[in-house]
């Protein structure tokens, strides 16, 4: 019995909690990608660096607040910085739309052209972030490090294995839930949200109904800014902030959006968790979990690590390929690409 409990604790500590946290971050990122795909009809390669920009502004404001001595006590000060990160990102995206994307939209440019344009935006944003904050790793988390640390957990339960639950993990999960609920409420209950869904569903008919496309585009960018800045800041808070990391994050985020079904918000969330769980489970050495579950003489001698962590991006790629081969519209019905 204790063995089973111990194995569950090990699994939660090393697999479940990190995967749920990572999945929340991917889901928020993928939601932004999928919204842009559904409404503006192109794959936005600049999304990763949009997240980097949002995280960067959040960090700058966090440092400012910290220098003023304003903190949130046990919670990270970054939570105060996030609203400013969102505002700055929204302003940036609206500016980029006005000076870059709008031109191509008016010309009714093909989606593939917009994809290339977004790559240009990606490089510019990436450069901008590195000029402002530098290419190095930045730390900005403060406050209480753990909700429950491994030591406390062991004392509390008397189990041999410890379970650590970091504050940043808790905050990531809760923030993601709040954002997702708010987003779905907005899309399904408000007039503007419904008009966005209508626009994504059938652009011509939306125009015939008198829905203003400029407003739909504007609201979309603002929502995307909120999702991207929050996702970026949470990722930076939970791991650490490094401008180049977000370029690498682009792959699992796109994999999540495509696996779930592009243009489908529920799919983006599901896809985020599918990718996160696969990455974590496949690259985690399961020996410690199995040790408790198997009879003594059958214990695995190796690490039971299916893939080295260096290959974690291969996991997203493989899942992406499998889904595209067998279900081109994704797990939930999205648009095929």
């Amino acid at each position: 019995m204790l063995d089973i409990l111990n194995s569950i604790v090990v699994l939660s500590n090393y697999v479940l909690i990190p995967a749920i946290t990572y999945g929340s971050q991917l889901a928020l990122g993928a939601l932004g990608v999928t919204l842009i795909y559904g409404i503006l009809r192109f794959s936005n390669f600049a999304h990763g660096d949009t997240m980097a920009f949002g995280a960067m502004v959040t960090i700058l404001f966090t440092w400012l607040f910290q220098s003023w001595g304003i903190t949130l006590g046990p919670l990270p000060t970054a939570l105060l910085g996030i609203p400013f990160g969102i505002l700055a990102t929204a302003a940036l995206l609206l500016l980029i739309d006005k000076f870059v994307y709008q031109f191509y939209r008016r010309q009714k440019a093909a989606p593939v052209i917009l994809v290339i344009v977004s790559m240009g935006v990606m490089f510019v944003l990436n450069g901008l972030v590195r000029i402002i904050i530098g290419p190095n790793e930045q730390r900005f988390s403060d406050g209480e490090r753990f909700i429950i640390s491994a030591k406390e957990f062991k004392l509390l339960t008397g189990l041999k294995e410890g379970l650590a639950f970091k504050t940043t993990q808790g905050i990531t999960i809760i923030t993601a839930i709040i954002l997702v609920v708010a987003l779905f409420w907005f899309l399904n209950r408000t007039r503007t949200g419904k008009s966005m869904r209508a626009f994504s569903d059938n652009e011509d008919l939306a125009l015939l109904s008198g829905i203003n496309p400029d407003k739909v585009v504007m609201v979309t960018w603002i929502i995307v800014a909120a999702l991207a800045a929050t996702a970026g800041a949470l990722y930076g808070l939970d791991k650490s902030f490094k401008p180049f990391i977000f370029l690498q994050l682009l792959l699992p985020i796109f994999a999540a959006a495509i696996v779930g079904g592009l243009g489908n918000p529920i799919g983006a969330i599901a896809g985020g968790f599918v990718i996160a769980f696969s990455e974590v489970v496949i690259t985690y050495p399961l020996k410690k979990v199995l040790k408790y579950l198997m009879p003594e003489n059958l214990e695995p001698t190796g690490l039971v690590q299916l893939l080295s962590t260096d290959y974690k991006f291969a996991v997203s790629f493989t899942i992406l390929l499998i889904v595209l081969l067998f279900r081109p519209t994704g797990l939930f019905k999205g648009k095929s690409i």
Binding site: R191, K194, S195, R197, A198, S200, D201, N202, D204, L205, A206, L207, L208, S209, G210, I211, N212
Partner: protein, 217 residues
Amino acid sequence: MVRERTVAVDPGQIAVIVGPNGAGKSTAMKAIFGMLNIHQGSVRLDGEDISTLSPQDRVAKGMAFVPQSSNVFTSLTVEENLEMGAFLRRDDIDVTMQQVYELFPILREKQKQAAGELSGGQRQQVAVGRALMTKPRVLMLDEPTAGVSPIVMDELFDRIIEVAKTGISILMVEQNARQALSIADKGYVLVQGSNRFTDTGAALLADPEVRKSFLGG
């Protein structure tokens, strides 16, 4: 190319444009609604020249258009489809929505269902209902019976007559010439972009030449 033609419809009347494939029926509809540029002539609503307005502005002026295909938001519920139809309205839309539900009772039953899950005939009802939500003065229908079964077709025509009775002008393009002309106050037979015959629906149906060339004897 659509040339030299006059189409007019009075309040509460049904005008039907019929003609062979490629005669320019749908093109004419799109031109009237402002989805295509017109080079000559004008579109007037209640005597007001609206030729330069965009389709959206024409909706605000009281025109509504039901396209032939993809005329519903498939991923939205029936109710949301109707709400989107009334997007430009700032007043209470409940009364109009109830009127639409009375006209198409099946939609009330299916109001929480996604429009994409409905049958072809029901979808057409959603499409017409969506257009009616703006409280239009002129309702334009591009082949409302395309792809629905004959029974559903009869029912749709009945509903269209009911809509007209509420004082809305109806301008309709139809493939099913015989049936459409039988409910029309005015009929236009379009051939290669020009009006070949114009008369009341009944007179056109009785005209031996129209019968011979378009209605199959």
